[in-house]
Amino acid sequence: MPATTYSDEVVACPPRAGTLYDVLELILDRGMVIDVFVRVSLVGIEILKIDARIVVASVDTYLRFAEACNRLDLERDSGSTTIPELLGGGVAKSVGKRKVRRAAENVGDTVRKAVGGGDKDDSSEPSEASEDEETQQDRPRKRRAPARSGTSRRRRPVEA
């Protein structure tokens, strides 16, 4: 969604809605429900909530890391070793991840806003379809995994 969808009164750094992940439970658990309105596959949605959380979480995490990497690139000198490793090695791995994650935290809401706003390329049809299928197959296992993990793991269910 282009940034132009937002009204002009909000300037340079508009307060944004956070990433989808941060508001998922509001979209799925709050808001109006009216009796004659039949919620789509009522049971399905309840189950999917959890799956959606996993899929959305991973995409949001990647976006955050990507943004954090960009930030680091700007703010640090090019000699930093972790960034190329990260970009080359995939975000789901190893040492550098924590650093980047921490960077993402520190950059904080700005990043979240930016990431939350730039959702253009994250829903390409083929990959999303395969994600969906995968989620479906793995559902029983995946659903349980995050529930058992520690409290601080919230944003990394992919690894859990």
């Binding site: 508001v23 109006m32 789509v40 995050p146 529930a147 409290t151």
Partner: protein
């Protein structure tokens, strides 16, 4: 596709114009239209044949509500509300018109800001410095390393991080509450110790966020705060559309 029914995004005031080129769920994204009924209108599109809680569709729902809420009060529907046909929508709107009008009035000029509190990521140093019990357990592990002792230490650390986050988070929420028109507790979210939404006047929302960020910085060794908003007022319409449930912090 009409056989799939009508997807309802929100209820708004009848006079409200839709944003230009508004689109909704589905692929390709369905064009959105407004169905007026008396003083209110439902914002709807055709429901896609296979609607699921996909990222793309969740975003479409959220984006449309965000755009709508920049143009006046909105009663946001929960994701996935599909009605059999337009007639059912009209019947619903007509039957509850007064309630909807009152709820829209209540939310007028307001936005939702959501605050989540998580245990701080980098709190270990200050925890060990401040917590005598943790220090004792750590010393025990150092004297006699072993599985049991490590588990005891780790368990104590996890519990202490969480309770520090709850304590600091609640203090922050109490400080923020007077700045809000209403407060609503959010659903439990894995990993969060607190999840609370505030109904804030749109004009105050920047100041509210700034205050929250200031409190977050002051407590960063105890709690990590995550702010989202301004959002559509999901938490300030009750499920049946009557004006909101609110809760103390």
């Amino acid at each position: 596709m009409t056989a799939e029914g009508v997807y309802v995004y929100a209820i708004v005031r009848a006079e409200k114009a839709l944003p230009a080129h508004a689109t909704g769920v589905g692929s390709p994204a369905a064009p959105v239209r407004s169905m007026r009924q008396g003083r209110v209108a439902a914002v709807v599109s055709e429901a896609p044949p296979t609607l699921r809680a996909r990222r793309r569709d969740l975003l479409a729902h959220q984006e449309l509500l965000l755009r709508l809420s920049e143009r006046g009060p909105v009663l946001p529907m929960r994701f996935g509300m599909v009605v059999t046909d337009e007639k059912a929508v009209r019947t619903q709107l007509a039957a509850h018109e007064a309630v909807h009008v009152a709820a829209l009035e209540h939310l007028s000029g307001g936005v939702e800001v959501n605050v989540k509190a998580l245990p701080a990521q980098d709190a270990l140093v200050s925890l060990v410095a401040e917590d005598g019990n943790i220090r004792r357990l750590r010393d025990a592990v150092r004297r006699r390393p072993g599985y049991e002792a490590s588990i005891r230490l780790g368990e104590a650390v996890a519990a202490a991080l969480e309770s520090r986050a709850v304590e600091a988070g609640q203090r922050i929420l109490r400080e923020l509450a007077p700045r809000a028109r209403a407060v609503a507790r959010g659903p439990e979210v894995q990993g969060c110790v607190l999840n609370t939404s505030f109904l804030v006047s749109r004009d105050d929302s920047d100041a509210f966020r700034a205050a929250a960020e200031r409190l977050a910085r002051a407590n960063r060794d105890r709690v990590e705060l995550r702010l989202a908003g301004p959002l559509p007022c999901y938490s300030f319409v009750s499920a049946d559309g009557t004006p909101p449930r609110t809760a103390g912090v």
